[in-house]
Symmetry: C2
Subunit: 213 residues, 2 copies
Amino acid sequence: MTEQKTWPAPPTSGAGRAQRPQQRSGRRRAEILQAAMAVFGERGYANGSLTEIAERVGMTHAGVLHHFGTKEQLLIALLEYRDEEDVVDLEGHHAPRGAALLDHLVATAAKNMERPGIVQAYSVLVGEAVTDQHPAREFFTDRFAGLRAMIAEALAEATDRKVGDGDISAAASAVIGVMDGLQLQWLLNPHSTDMSSALSLTIDALVARLRRS
Amino acid sequence: MTEQKTWPAPPTSGAGRAQRPQQRSGRRRAEILQAAMAVFGERGYANGSLTEIAERVGMTHAGVLHHFGTKEQLLIALLEYRDEEDVVDLEGHHAPRGAALLDHLVATAAKNMERPGIVQAYSVLVGEAVTDQHPAREFFTDRFAGLRAMIAEALAEATDRKVGDGDISAAASAVIGVMDGLQLQWLLNPHSTDMSSALSLTIDALVARLRRS
DNA sequence: CCTACCGATCGGTAGG
DNA sequence: CCTACCGATCGGTAGG
C-alpha cells in the first residue's frame, strides 16, 4: 500500500463517472482477493501464479501488482481478509468469549462443510507456513497463540478449572488440532469425515474428562 | 525405474571395485531420499528444487533424475521410504493392532518431538497434497483410510463397541486429526504444545466417553 | 491499468 | 553420473 505508483492519467473526478474511484478500487481489490483465495487454494501459494489470479478478474499480472505491490503482500492481505470474513456475520464482529466459544467452533465446522474452497485455502496455506522463512509463518503462529488462549478460557469456564492448568492447555491445543486435522481428511475424502460431529464429540469428551479428574 | 538409461561406460564388475554397483546405487538413492526429505520439508515440494537436493549429496540435478526419473517419482519414493522408516524399529515391521495401537500412537508423538525434520516434511506435504492434482494426493487419501480403519478397530476394542458405530468412526477421525493438527502448532512454536500429552489426554477422554454413553 | 521487458529459476532431455 | 541445452514460467519493474 505504500509508495504505490499512480496511473498516467488518474481517472479521478469526471462528471459522467458512476462511482468514485476509491470505491471501484476497493471492490477490485476484493475481487482479486477472492481470486487469490481460489488460486492459492487450488495450487498453493508457491505454485499459484499472479498471472492466473489476474486472468480470473480480467487483467494482467502487472495489474494485480499495481493493487498489492508484491505477491507476498497479496498473501498477507488475503489472510487478514479471510479472518474478517469469518466473523462478519457475528454480533460485534468477533467470536464469542467463554464457554459459548465451544459451540461457535462446532457451528463453524458445520459451516465449513459448505465451503470447501475456503477450507482448502486455509489448509494449504497453514501447511506451507511451516516451511522456512514462509511469509505466512508469523501470521499463523500468532493466530494459534490467540486461539489457544481463547479456547483455554472457554474450557476453564466449562470445567471449573484454572486457565493455567496443564490439562487445560493440552486440551486447548488438542481442540485446535482436531479442527485442523479433520479438515485435511475431509478435503481428501469428504465422505470419510463429518467434521462437526467429530469435533463435537471430542470437545464433549475433553470437557467431561476435565470436569471429573 | 522403467526405461532408465545407463551410463556410457557402465561401471559394472571390475576387480578393484570395493562394492557392487547395485549396493552403491541403493545407498546413493537413500542419500538422495534423505536430502529430498530435508529440502521438501524446508521449502515444500512445489518450491523445493532438484538442484538443491542434488547439491546436498554432491551431484547435479541431472544425477538425481538419473536415479528417480522425474521429480514426481522422487516424491512418491520419498513418501514410501518415510512410512517404512516409521516402523523399521518395530517387531514385524508394522504398527501393533488392537488397543495397543493407541499407546503406539502416543509413543510416536513423543518420538516425533525429537525429529522436527520428519514432522515438517510430513506436515508440509500433506498440506500440499490437498491442492488440485497433486501427485501425493492419492497416497495420503489411502493412508488416512487405512489409519482410520486401524484406529477404529483399536477404539472398538478399548470401548467394547462395534467398529461400525458412528461415534467410533468420528473418534477415529478425531484421533488422526489431533495428531496432524498438533504437529502444525508444535512446528510453529515448539514451546506451545506438548504433542504426546495432548494426544494422550484426548485419546483417554474419547475412550472414557465412548465407554460410558 | 497495460505493454514490454528483464533476470532468474525450473524440470527434463540429449548425448556421452 | 556430467555438460550443455531447451522451453516454459515466474515475479517484478519501467514507462506510459
